[in-house]
Amino acid sequence: METLYKKVNKAALLLAVAAGAALQSCSGIESSQANTAVASQADADAATKVYVAPGKHDELYSFMSGGFSGQVSVYGIPSGRQLKVIPVFSQNPENGYGYTEESKAMLNTSFGFVPWDDLHHPKLSRTDGMTDGRWLFVNANNTPRVARLDLKTFETAEIMEIPNSAGNHCSPYPTNDNEYVIAGTRFSVPINVEGKYEDVNFSEYKDKFKGSISFVKVDKKTGDMDLDFQVLVPGFDYDLANGGKGPSSDWVFFTTYNTEQASTLKEIGASQNDKDFLAAINWKLAAKYAREGKTHEMPAYYYHNKLDEKTHIATSEIKKKVRILLPEECPGLMYLIPVPKSPHGIDVDPSGEFMIVSGKLASIIPVHSFSNMLKTIEKKDFIGDVGGIPILRYESVLAGEVKEPGLGPLHTEFDGKGNAYTSMFVSSEVVKWKLKDFKVVDRIPVYYSVGHLVIPGGDTKKPYGKYLIAMNKITKDRYLPTGPELAHSAQLIDISGEKMKLLLDFPTIGEPHYAQAIEAGKIAPNSVKFYSLEENSHPQATKKESDTRVERKGNQVHVYMTAIRSHLTPDNIEGVNVGDEVYFHVTNLEQDWDVPHGFAIMGNNNAELLIMPGATQTLKWVPQKAGIVPMYCTDFCSALHQEMQGYIKVSPKGVKTPVAFSTGGKKPAA
């Protein structure tokens, strides 16, 4: 019976299709050809907009978080060409980051050496509310840390652990003049101001679990970070943050969820309240309270790792104290503003008046008003408090709501022309709406499940409103399939006109959560071409071939080696035994652009070195077998790169071969 029904159905469908085709063939040829012509013209327009001719440079740099790759990737916009991948929280065998003796310390934490992290949010440094192209701040979500990348060298310059934090998701948010980079905890955990261990049960969440917001001071000249103080906040989850601008410059806003304070099955437990909160903190006032000594000193234990510019050596410093501010002791420091549940993005418009909160589970986008917020505070129009922190009345702060924006609003950026653009995770689209009347004016599908958006300078007071990049979580059929795991994709959208126009898809590495984009002219002219050999103050640097040598100290052997096109000095080494700890301190003597030398040893249980011109890097090797072991340059440096190689003679344990070394059959000459 059922099969018969199916057959009839199928037949009917076939008939319908045939009829449709017949109808089309009669009347539709011309119009379908015309459609194709229009479509190909649109494609050609898009192609010319993203076409950067060979040898020409892109208009913008885009810095994308690598998400679970622990790296930052750099793309040229509008071409979508990948320019570089910068390792930050993850070891990178490609250049030895986290493997060389110099860089290992960068990944030290209070938990020991952590070779990986989940990097979510890049934020460019700012001067007067605008990106200045000096540094990029990024967060480690898993093992709480904040890193600073130097955009002269595109290297990680500094990594600081954040104590009293568990999941550093709500991070890092620089204020308008980089006074502070602000980092909030994702998970609340028991925090004891005396710094003692307490045996806490999950059931004690409401009483014992706390969140923390860290205020990291940034040195105006060097960019060096220092944890100035932390504010201990109610035990919610803190998701994202953003600083105010113009009139709201003194404030920073945080989205929270799990205001229910559930400790288990949070997908249900943290979704019970109809409203969660937007937390507003007056950071200027917080800094003032901290200066005035309102802080409690708390024992702590966290790592601060810095790369020295002259030696290229990273060193770790352990810090043992942190200053804590308690909001209940600091009136006017913090307020809570209700927002639809489980909000994600909090974005402040270029004028600094509107705080747009995107709630993934909400059907509207609430737009709060900063001036209303101040009035509400002044009138004390509170509906309650959480541990002494006033909760403002939703309706009093609200400026308006964007109705029917789409499903799953996540994050909003601005074009500086009065428009806001919100990503819709669930309905896979970007929605454009007016800040004037909160009306939706345009929408464009994205492929698929878009997370964050970025407009160059879209989080500053003057956006560069020409392009928007949507970062998608799901790619499926957009590219050639590559097995179960597919590249995440970014989509470049033209926002210069009334209607948004899709220009380009390009694959990205890891999972870009957020990105920043900046005019190329703010970075390119300062890009370092090579390091000065003269200024290299690495203690094991070898600046002349005549100074190369091999020295034994107990079971350690130190090789002071140089690399220059196209030979290693020394390239014949003997006097090494199985089980020795051999350290190759290799200095690249080149003083020219784009001439790194690589260095690798057969069977080394380690990565390679990639030594920039003028720098010194150290590779550790513990030979496992006796014999002749080759070593070579791994980066194709010149026509005789293949010849840039040598041998090490490894003698069995206990065999006393005297240390000897040479190049070209003789000891290295002057």
Partner: protein, 203 residues
């Protein structure tokens, strides 16, 4: 000597000072992988380049074809040439101040000889570096030599080399031109005064 002529000769002597401010000669090379180019600057007292490291980069490239390392210390000329320039500047100034008209032409002549000797020396160095190649060099192309152009351009393997006098050389040229001008102007003035003297005699 007329005051104006004395000043002109003084200017000639001083213009030689350009040799200490600018290179005498510049050699530019360009290759596909060196779009930004490399420059070698030859001064009266040193050899340098467009960057602090140009010389090192020239030497790195040159070692593949077995060219001898260019080391400024090995050029004796660079130590004594500045004194020769000082000598011409000093004597030029003294001749101008003393108004020693008869010494102007010998000064100019000597300067021209010195300049020519400098050029000849430069040419010989180019020839020596370009032909005296290490027989064990990695790249040997039978019959190929690498003499950079003395003046003008030349293709050397993948490198396009261009050689031109630098602003320092203008100092010498200026000194010669001014010196000669003073000599001729003075000669005409002298000729004119003799003629006018003859005239008075006739009258």
């Amino acid at each position: 000597m007329k005051t104006l002529h004395k000043l002109l000769l003084l200017a000639a002597a001083i213009s030689l000072g350009l040799l200490f401010l600018f290179p005498m000669w510049k050699i530019y090379v360009q290759a596909p992988q060196y779009p930004e180019g490399l420059q070698m600057h030859i001064w009266v007292n040193k050899i340098s380049g467009s960057t602090d490291y140009s010389l090192q980069n020239f030497n790195i490239l040159n070692h593949y074809i077995g060219m001898e390392k260019i080391q400024p210390d090995s050029f004796q000329e660079l130590t004594y040439m500045p004194y020769i320039v000082f000598f011409f500047m000093l004597t030029g100034a003294l001749i101008a101040l003393a108004g020693a008209r008869r010494l102007v032409l010998p000064w100019v002549f000597l300067l021209m000889v010195a300049g020519a000797a400098g050029l000849a020396d430069f040419y010989m160095w180019l020839h020596k570096f370009g032909t005296n190649l290490d027989p064990h060099a990695p790249i040997i192309i039978p019959g190929m030599t690498y003499i950079p152009p003395f003046i003008g351009s030349k293709q050397l393997l993948n490198f396009h080399a261009l050689s031109l006098p630098g602003p320092g050389s203008i100092g010498i040229a200026l000194a010669v031109v001014l010196g000669l001008a003073v000599f001729f102007l003075e000669r005409r003035r002298k000729g004119a005064s003799i003629k006018s003297a003859e005239k008075t005699l006739v009258l």
